[in-house]
Amino acid sequence: MIPDRGVTGNKVEPLPILEVEDLHMHFPIRGGILRRTVGWIKAVDGVTFTIQPGQTLGLVGESGCGKTTLGHTILQLNRATSGSVRLGGTELTTLSQPMLRNTRRRMQVIFQDPLSSLHPRMTVGEILAEPLEIHGLAFGLTKVKRVHELLLMVNLSPSLVSRYPHELSGGQRQRVGVARALAVEPTLLVCDEAVSALDVSIRGQVVNLLSEIQSRLGIAYLFISHDLGIVRHISTRVAVMYLGKIVELADRDTLYTEAAHPYTQALLSAIPVPDPRVEKTRKRIILKGEIPSPAHPPTGCRFRTRCQYAQEICQMEEPLIRLVHPGHSVACHFAEQLIDHSGKAALLPT
């Protein structure tokens, strides 16, 4: 049931920086005048994966699939219902608040909207100095030097220190967000839709910056996004989430060319390609309906209500995520048969 440990074939990989095991995050639904719990939203419902140092795990899925909640639960912004999150070997879910504060230095987050995640009344310099002060990393002149260094690291001019967030462009703000995250020298960076709000011409600059920083500092990324094009560009491995569960997890190239889960195949076929020849000839899998409510997920396989291959067994029995090839896990009863109907056919012009 742990398809994803450090051993692939004969090669032994280094210890993962992040290990998430059977993680659950359930939120109560309260109702009636007594506000009793009448049900549960199972936003994250049994998720297991690892991230190696210096690598990027792309996490994709549609709105409401639980990808943001998963990110928050890993960061301990939510306390998990059950399961374990280990960062560099340290179990986080049982840590006390003061201990957690120390650990937070090692994992940082950048959000989608930099304007609402930067304090409007703090200058860029203050924003970058604050984490240094809180974690006692630098004071006085060293602090000023470090702030300059951080700005240069994200390709911003140090002359911006006295500016306020509203005086910056969207791309510049997101760079400040990245610099703030880097200030405390994390080993894991959670990027939650970090470039989704940016225009195409600006987005590339920030994505390249993230890649550059990763190769220079060896930080691991959990890159959460609904944009499969960007995720393919930046990720080492990719996990696809549907209704609180990971339905497929594979190396980047495997996922984009040999997708086995019908949901992954549909997602890939729905990516608009900026080429009218491809758009005219490709076969698109149009899914019926929309993502069901996580309060009442379908029995058995959660995807069966929208799946074109659904059989009786899919209603009776929940498919567990399992290895179908080394480094490629899928949660589908028919993964082996479906792997041939791969995304390759849908995407690449023949």
């Binding site: 549609e62 709105s63 462009s169 791309g171 225009d199 195409v200 011409s201 600006i202 987005r203 590339g204 600059q205 994505v207 390249n208 890649s211 609904h226 499969l228 094009g229 960007i230 393919r232 560009h233 980047r252 984009y256 549909a266 997602l267 890939l268 076929s269 729905a270 990516i271 608009p272 390609v273 900026p274 080429d275 009218p276 020849r277 491809v278 758009e279 698109r284 149009i286 899914l287 929309e290 993502i291 995407l347 690449l348 012009p349």
Partner: protein, 347 residues
Amino acid sequence: MAEHDALVHAGVQKPLLSVVHLRTDFVLANSVVHAVRDVTFDIYPGEAVGVVGESGSGKSISALSIIGLIRPPGRIVSGSVTFQGRDLIHISREDLRKIRGKEIGFIFQDPMTHLNPVLTVGRQITETVRVHLGLTAAAARARALELMDLVELPHARSRFDNYPHQFSGGMRQRVLIAIAISCNPQLLIADEPTTALDATVQAQILDLINRLRSELGMAVLIITHDMGVIAGIANRVAVMYAGRIVELANVDDVFLRPRHPYTSALLESIPRVDHPVARALYTIPGQPPDPTLESVGCMYRLRCKFSLPRCEAEVPQLDMVTPKHEVACFTDISLDTGEPAPDLDPS
């Protein structure tokens, strides 16, 4: 499409909508935002025209200007909008209201803010046909149910009396589409219709718009920032930058033979899932110009690798490079050898 082109060329087919030198400003306390600086294009009956550009390029404001939805501090400074021979800028509000929603339907990015939360969906669909077509309550209800089937809203009868919050995002967009097409408009304006939707739902909605266009024979003006969406739906494409159309051509020409440096850079910036993964994403240096600046020369010149001295002095106008391909640029990038082209006309 070829037949359609032939008709257009022979001058047999008149444009349904003509926008000429449209200019829209927003006058703020201490600055003027030049949202639309100069936009000229036609839409012919039955065709799908895509307008693509980044935020602030003026694509949405152009659409709002066409249907007279610019409110102060915004105002149309100059230019004309002609729909089937009628001037939409100098028309009375009353007459415009008769065209809007009836002959020109429109859908927006966020269906929730364009639906009334306290009225049932059925009521909102029937309202349009009752006002514009003068149908009786019973006839309007029948028409509404028919429309709900047409846009594939499941269980139309039982969902007729539901409120917008009881629908998902994709279903709300279908409701908005049902309202937009309720009077069989000749033109449907869709402003970022799928931007707020998930990829799989986006595919459903684009599929629906495509199908309705061919079934109802209406023209579609689709506005989006997503080149991929445009490639799948448009016959002709206008690329906007800083309030101007910089390139206007058939979809194949824009995507396969772009002639404006911005179009070509934009296409290169998108990581393509059907291409091998590049080491680094292609990026356009700098950022879009401040919309409050007066236009001096080409607005793209500071980010352009082909810029010439002339680009600073003169605003390049949309010019035909082939009969169906218009470009606003002094350089012919199809001759690109990697080096900036020599200045052919230094005057």
